[in-house]
């Protein structure tokens, strides 16, 4: 099995879909000759040409708006917003236009677009280039939200997202771009709305997604030594959420911790915790469900401060011990 990076996996997904379907095209700031701010689209301009790999001016509102307009008239645009932080400028196009068209037009529109959003901290880019804003979009019916944690998931899910007939917000954590992982060479897709059990365990369920999956898995490996068996569930798609897999696991373990990089207050973790407490799993809980999430602060510049703003492996382990009453 070959290993490729997360960025390469995303590029492969887009290239394969563009070869498969001529309606698929890319647009965004510097995605063309430059190859994207994070090099994700390197080489695609050469293969597909400027018509299908379109550089846009620095105009996020119209990038998202034009993607919606192209989608509703039969194309399958994959638009990139260079930093998820800049989706603020595109919000009307996404929230009031793309997400709503189908419903407010009585089911007569389809908006098959993907908005790729490099997100997250860890690059020293401070407060306006480091946010994880996925929860905002989860709050808008009509949008789907995907946040893969591995190269294989990124590839399989992006292909599904491109083929999906709805607007999909695709969250790519920047620190994952260089991470390598096994990705099958043959074609595959991963359906949206299907969680993955990244590790089997019996004592505590940790639900996490995106970059935090790696930290959680490393905490889980460490804690095996302490005799605590952790099951790690990565929902991969936040909307639609695979509630069954989470609930089934919590019924089994009776303990749950939710981990994400995004700030805690109003974060998607609250939604996951609610899904657990509203479900049959409530009766099996043997400890309060904890959230380990980003601190409620803008991401600071200083590297040590920046690290302290997002969950660490030590914090995750601490939470596990707490739910185990140790």
């Amino acid at each position: 099995m070959r290993e490729i990076t997360y960025a390469e996996a995303i590029r492969e997904a887009m290239s394969e879909e563009m070869r498969r379907d001529e309606n698929v095209f890319l647009m965004g700031e510097d995605v063309g000759l430059y190859g994207g701010a994070f090099g994700v689209t390197v080489g695609m301009f050469e293969e597909f040409g400027e018509e299908r790999v379109r550089d846009t001016p620095i105009s996020e509102a119209v990038i998202a708006g034009a993607a919606a307009g192209a989608a509703v008239t039969g194309m399958r645009p994959v638009a990139e917003i260079m930093f998820m932080d800049f989706t603020t400028i595109a919000m009307d196009s996404l929230v009031n236009q793309a997400a709503k068209m189908r419903y407010m037009f009585g089911g007569k529109a389809k908006v098959p677009m993907v908005l790729r959003c490099p997100a997250g901290s860890g690059t020293g880019a401070a407060a306006q280039h480091s946010q994880s804003l996925e929860a905002w979009f989860c709050h808008v019916p009509g949008l789907k939200v995907v946040a893969p944690s591995t190269p294989a998931d990124a590839k399989g899910l992006l292909k599904s997202a491109i083929r999906d007939d709805n607007p999909v917000i695709f969250v790519e954590q920047k620190l994952l771009y260089r991470k390598k992982g096994i990705v099958p060479e043959e074609e595959f897709i991963i359906p949206l709305g299907k969680a993955d059990i990244k590790r089997k365990g019996t004592d505590v369920t940790i639900i996490t997604y995106g970059r935090m999956a790696e930290s959680v898995l490393s905490a889980a490996a460490d804690m095996e030594q302490e005799g605590i068996s952790i099951e790690v569930i990565d929902p991969r798609t936040l909307v639609p959420l695979d509630r069954e897999t989470i609930i089934e696991s919590v019924i089994k373990t009776g303990r749950a911790v939710v981990v994400h990089e995004a700030v805690k207050t109003g974060g998607y973790g609250g939604e996951i915790v609610s899904a657990i407490s509203e479900s049959e799993a409530f009766d099996y809980l043997d400890a309060p469900v904890l959230r380990i999430a980003g601190k409620d602060v803008p991401i600071p510049y200083n590297p040590e401060l920046e690290k302290a703003a997002v969950p660490s492996v030590a914090e995750i382990k601490e939470a596990v011990r707490k739910v185990m009453n140790r």
Partner: protein
């Protein structure tokens, strides 16, 4: 349809728009149309004639003040009235209402409740036409108020650099809700902004149906030939308030009366009679027919079922 037939059809649709909105106003007062509604009485030439200058297969994005526009594009009045009354048979199954009339198959990409919300969609739709080489163009309606939205500038610039087939059609009715143009921008003519984005711009008398028709026809040819977008500023006036909750405190009675004298329907009728396209009797008949058709639409809508509550959760996702 030859030019003459088009003119007759145009007159018919302008009358339908007028009758439709009078009816809506009547219903609104009786609580049968809820929420709010934005009437375009006085702007029918702008909305209808611009659409009539397009080919039937071309596309439009409409606005919150869109009744004349979508009727101009050609619409089933029954389904439109049903939608305003929130019925299951409406264009949007009763989920859209006045501000979201859309008929995607017929090229109407939807009215928009957000000022400036249609700019990006129009540009994207135009991109589709260019990529797929369909030969279709897009007409993007917006108002003087929307010309101050960031999306206007982003969209016109993008359409310009990509040479997209889109007509930015500004219905300048001189007020962004209550704020007069003289206060909300420091230029007299919005068309000046075309130059900033390197595209042609024209002013047209928005109450003169023939002038609007000819100018859009000309612009459509230019746009269709692949030369990029055009901005048209159509100066017109809404007789009624911004929405149904408007007390009209920011305008003088005199100003409104003055504009009512320039009624686009009367003006167009005079033209049709003078050019002997219609006789008095024929023109009367068209007006009567328009009223009757609206009554029929009302009847259809009234006899239509309410959307079942079970449809509430439908059509969120494809």
């Amino acid at each position: 349809m030859d030019e003459k037939e088009k003119m007759v059809e145009m007159y018919k649709r302008m009358n339908e728009a007028r009758s439709f909105e009078e009816k809506v106003s009547f219903f609104f007062a009786r609580g049968m149309v809820h929420g709010t509604t934005h009437l375009s009485v006085g702007e029918e030439a702008s909305g209808v004639a611009s659409c009539m200058a397009l080919e039937a297969y071309d596309l439009i994005t409409s606005t919150h003040r869109g009744h004349s526009q979508v009727i101009g594009k050609g619409i089933d009045l029954n389904k439109m009235m049903a939608e305003l009354l929130g019925k299951a048979t409406g264009y949007c199954k009763g989920k859209g209402g006045s501000m979201h009339i859309a008929d995607i198959k017929a090229g109407n990409l939807g009215a928009n409740g957000v000022v400036g919300g249609g700019h990006g969609i129009a540009v994207g739709a135009a991109l589709t036409q260019k990529l797929k080489k369909t030969g279709k163009i897009v007409l993007c309606f917006f108002g003087d108020g929307a010309a101050n939205e960031g999306s206007f500038h982003e969209a016109v610039n993008l359409a310009s650099i990509w040479r997209l087939p889109v007509i930015f059609f500004c219905e300048n009715n001189f007020y962004g809700m209550s704020m007069p143009l003289s206060k909300h921008m420091n230029i007299k003519d919005i068309v000046k902004r075309a130059e900033a984005y390197g595209i042609p711009g024209y002013i047209v008398d928005g109450n003169d149906a023939v002038a609007v028709y000819r100018k859009v026809k000309e612009a459509a040819e230019y746009v269709r030939s692949g030369k990029g977008p055009v901005l048209i500023e159509s100066k017109t006036y809404r007789w009624l308030g911004h929405s149904k909750s408007d007390a009209n405190v920011y305008r003088t009675k005199e100003e409104i009366v003055e504009w009512k004298k320039k009624c686009p329907l009367k003006r167009f009728r005079a033209y049709l009679l003078k050019e002997e396209i219609l006789t008095e009797e024929e023109a009367d008949a068209i007006e009567r027919k328009a009223k009757e058709d609206i009554e029929k639409a009302v009847e259809y809508a009234n006899n239509s079922p309410e959307p079942p509550i079970g449809t509430l959760l439908e059509d969120v996702y494809a």
